[in-house]
């Protein structure tokens, strides 16, 4: 099971500010290890953020996103105490879902 994400969701006057820090190697498939073998690509390919049953952001990522990816965005219609769910799926089919309460 991959490491949990760190999610911060804050209700601001102009919307809910969501910050997510994921824990992932984000291997590009371009790098070689000590013996000269190519390290196979392994990266988060899809991210979905859901609030109250509605997808507020979905993303498709390539291996050019940095290791331990960071994502920040803002959406309307959320309020304090609501839950925000973030799910990612990587190129090997591993997945992780974490929730945070809007503060």
């Amino acid at each position: 099971m991959p490491d949990p994400m760190r999610i911060r969701a804050n209700a601001l006057p102009d919307g809910v500010d969501v910050r997510v820090l994921m824990s992932h190697e984000m291997e590009t498939g371009q790098r070689k290890d000590g013996t000269g073998n190519v390290v196979p690509a392994h990266f988060i390919s899809n991210v979905t953020v859901v609030h109250a049953g509605k997808t507020v952001l979905s993303a498709e990522w390539g291996p050019a996103i940095s290791k331990n990816p960071y994502l920040q965005f803002k959406f309307q219609g959320g309020k304090k105490g609501d839950e925000v769910t973030v799910t990612w799926v990587d190129s090997k089919g591993e997945t992780r879902t974490d929730k945070a309460t809007i503060a």
Binding site: E60, K67, T87
Partner: protein, 160 residues
């Protein structure tokens, strides 16, 4: 009397299991939906090597420069493995925001779809192999717009 009791409980049981079944069915549906959504990964677009091919792979024909896209990147990135990128679009009806790097092995770094109610503003961190233009591409009403800015990389983030 007893018999009637039994009947009610059976009816209740049937009703309850029916409801449970419906719940499971709903759960399964959303799960499948979510899965289908998540597996939509535009492989062709992520394999392209220049802006025009990427736009084509994303279903666009042409791309126009726009001053309504605010791309915030550092002028100099000391470490190409972690380059902060922030994109804000002032184009009405922004549907998608794409982050691209001209001289990376593959141009497209990330694509975000912005549903109504979400601000067309995202920040993330990307890898850059060498000094290159970073492109912020916005799709609005099936038209593509781009803004670009050069980032000098002193240490590459790909290979090593």
């Amino acid at each position: 009397m007893q018999r009637e009791n039994k009947k009610t409980s059976r009816r209740e049981f049937v009703q309850l299991s029916g409801m449970l079944g419906a719940l499971v069915a709903i759960g399964m549906l959303t799960e499948q939906e979510a899965l289908a959504q998540q597996q939509a990964w535009n492989k062709a677009a992520f394999e392209t090597k220049n802006l025009n091919d990427t736009i084509k792979a994303l279903g666009g024909a042409a791309v126009a420069e726009s001053k309504d896209i605010v791309l915030t990147v550092p002028d100099i990135a000391e470490n190409g493995a972690v380059v902060p990128v922030a994109i804000a679009s002032k184009i009405p009806g922004t549907q998608n925001i794409y982050v691209m790097v001209e001289k990376n092995p593959n141009t497209l770094a990330a694509g975000f779809s912005i549903p109504a109610g979400t601000e067309p503003t995202i920040s993330t961190r990307i890898k850059m192999g060498q000094t290159s233009n970073v492109l912020a591409v916005v799709k609005s009403n099936d038209q593509f717009f781009v803004a670009s800015k050069e980032v000098k990389v002193t240490l590459g983030g790909c290979g090593g």
